[in-house]
Amino acid sequence: MAVRVGIPRALLFYLYFPMWQAFFNEIGVQVIPSGRTTKSILDDGIREALADVCVPIKLYYGHVMELKGKVDYLFIPRVVCLNGKTVYCPKFLGLPDMIKYSVDNLPPIIDVRMDSRQGRLSLLNAYSEIGRYFGADRITTIRAYLKALGVHYHFRRLLRKGWSPPEAMELLKSPGTGKAGSQTKVNLKFAVLGYPYAIYDSFISVNIVEKLRQLGVMVMTAENIHPALLALQKNCDLPKRLFWTLSDIALKAAHLLFKQGRIDGILHLTAFGCGPDSLLNKLIEMEAKKHRNVPFMTLMIDEHTGEAGMATRLEAFVDMVRRRKEAHLCQK
């Protein structure tokens, strides 16, 4: 039987799972992702993790707990930097150590370090290191890596076409099945900014994307924007850019969308206890003040976010935007 590697359905899962899966499969390893977040996964996470960490890390703990008895290895890479410029949140940098030293009875952890600032081949080398865990030779790993890159490229292209990461993953599995959802009276378009692992974990985000769609709102996220457009935002008028990749992307997306002014509303989904968000949210808020023509709202999620409360706030916001838009149309 093939070796089984578990990948928690949290954090970078939402951006890199297809690539990781393709790589592991190519070197003959079976990949087992944890299931979708449930109440019991969240509760496990809350119990295992330090009370002071942010919700997404708690979720990560929960998913690790769910996998730990079922797999031979856990894949918890130390993702430091993937674009040669910005790093990930310091909690990503210490993630394998946090898990290793605070959860008992874990299977071996594959904790390769990925840091593309260390030279052109550093990512390939990181993947080779993974290959070595399973006795794959250099040629096989290189081939697997290239294949994985191909899958990743394809995945990103689907995202740019407007699919969300979970939808794009489905499409990769069985192409051609995707429908643009059965949306009825779509007349608004919102951007939901925030970390993919918060937005697309439908349990913790209380299903925000689906809820908005039901209210007749088309939803886009930063993943749907072409990276080149984001890169054009430079440092967003700041003396230095935000250090953290995902926060930087969200801020750039906010700047771009506010400037374009074509979107009907922007939501920032921020996680309770998130360090980088304390800066990011303030900066987005200040930008929003300069562009009053685009309605903006911050939503904070935590482990107790309730369905009802979220639904009410979203409905109120959508109503407000819709009325505003109609008023505008009448004036014209």
Partner: protein, 367 residues
């Protein structure tokens, strides 16, 4: 020309004031953080900003009220938030309608030009390069003298016969040091200060526990932010050794890593091989080194929501078990109360004392 202010960290302001005045600036000395500072800071900072950012926000606002127009501070290159502080402070101040100048010092090794530019902007008296170097040397020497006095106070306080003497003497000698100007005067004041502290009546037979303090730099260096934990511990008969001093830290950052035989980095790397920003890795490394040196316990001080210290805190229980040393963590924010802290410290001291006596007893029996 606008008046200059800077972040306050413990007593270091005395040296910074000297340096900036030598360069021809009018200085607004930042106030010791108090209730109002916190209120102001909390009101104008994002809710989940780290505690140091909030306090500094309050400090700056107070300095602005006192007429400061330029803020000199440090930058940083991540991966933690501290490097972005200056920028956020500036933005918030602008948003409140204050037109201020921010002079941000980045690590000189990476940004030598930034350093030169900033020094020139601050050099209003047009001091020559040689003169600037002289001023910096003197400021540095004063910082060292201040640190040495503080270190000694940590040793003397738990042994003093009459409670409160050390604190009173320490306050007095600080003024001696900051009153000095030339190199010789500083050295002289330092010697006198150390002598005064040493000659405080002490009880040498007292059983004194030794505790290492690790954690994030700002809450370690600014007693107002940690509710004078060192004083409280001293009164409980505990000698503290703090893992960080401005002179120690700056040396690490501008020159090379310090050596304790084993560097802090090496000590920490089995548990946390990655630099997670702030002082998370140092907290782990120092804990291990302190335990090797036979300390009785460790106290970790961390600002609420501090990312690197949260990472360290997650790993520390394991270190504590492996090295058999008790560790107590305080996450500090504006709601932390002194009474609660003292209670926890008393319990912790009891625990260490019992452990120490038990081990001593065990040694007697087996030996």
């Amino acid at each position: 020309m606008s008046k200059v202010t800077f972040p306050r960290m413990g007593e270091s302001w005395r040296a910074f004031k000297l340096l900036l005045e030598d360069l021809g600036n009018e200085v607004v000395v930042p106030l010791r953080p108090n209730k109002r500072t916190l209120d102001l800071g909390v009101r104008h900072s994002p809710e989940f900003a780290c505690f140091p950012l909030k306090i500094l926000m309050g400090t700056y606002l107070e300095a602005v009220e006192m007429g400061a127009g330029t803020i000199v501070t440090s930058g940083g290159v991540g991966p933690c938030r501290a490097g972005e502080y200056a920028m956020l402070h500036h933005k918030i101040l602008q948003d409140l309608g204050y037109d201020l100048k921010m002079i941000v010092f980045e690590p000189p090794r990476l940004y030598p030009l930034n350093f030169i530019k900033n020094v020139r902007a601050l050099n209003k008296a047009r001091v020559s390069i040689r003169g600037i170097i002289d001023c910096i040397k003197r400021g540095w020497r004063m910082l060292q003298a201040l640190d040495n006095a503080e270190k000694l106070s940590h040793v003397v306080r738990p042994r003093e016969i009459k409670r409160g003497t050390t604190t009173a003497v320490y306050k007095k000698v600080l003024d001696w040091i900051s009153g000095a100007y030339t190199m010789e005067q500083i050295a002289e004041a330092e010697a006198a200060a150390l002598e005064a502290l040493r000659s405080i009546p002490q009880d040498s037979s007292r059983e004194v526990l030794k505790v290492g303090i690790v954690g994030e730099i700002y809450v370690l260096l600014e007693p107002a932010s940690n509710l004078e934990i060192e004083e409280t511990l001293g009164d409980l008969g505990v000698e503290v050794e703090r893992s960080m001093f401005l002179t120690g830290w700056t040396r690490d950052n501008t020159w090379n890593e310090t050596t304790h035989g084993l560097t802090i980095k090496e000590a920490a790397s089995p548990y946390l091989p990655e630099l997670v920003g702030g002082h998370g890795r140092d907290s782990i490394g120092h804990t291990i080194l302190y335990s090797k040196r036979g300390f009785d316990g460790i106290i970790q001080l961390a600002p609420f929501t501090c990312i690197p210290e949260i990472v360290a805190r997650t790993i520390l229980p394991r270190v504590s078990k492996d090295y058999d040393i008790p560790v107590l963590t305080f996450f500090l924010d504006e709601q932390t109360g002194k009474a609660g802290m003292t209670t926890r410290l008393e319990a912790f001291t009891d625990l260490m004392r019992r452990k120490k006596r038990f081990q001593a007893g065990a040694k007697c029996l087996t030996g």
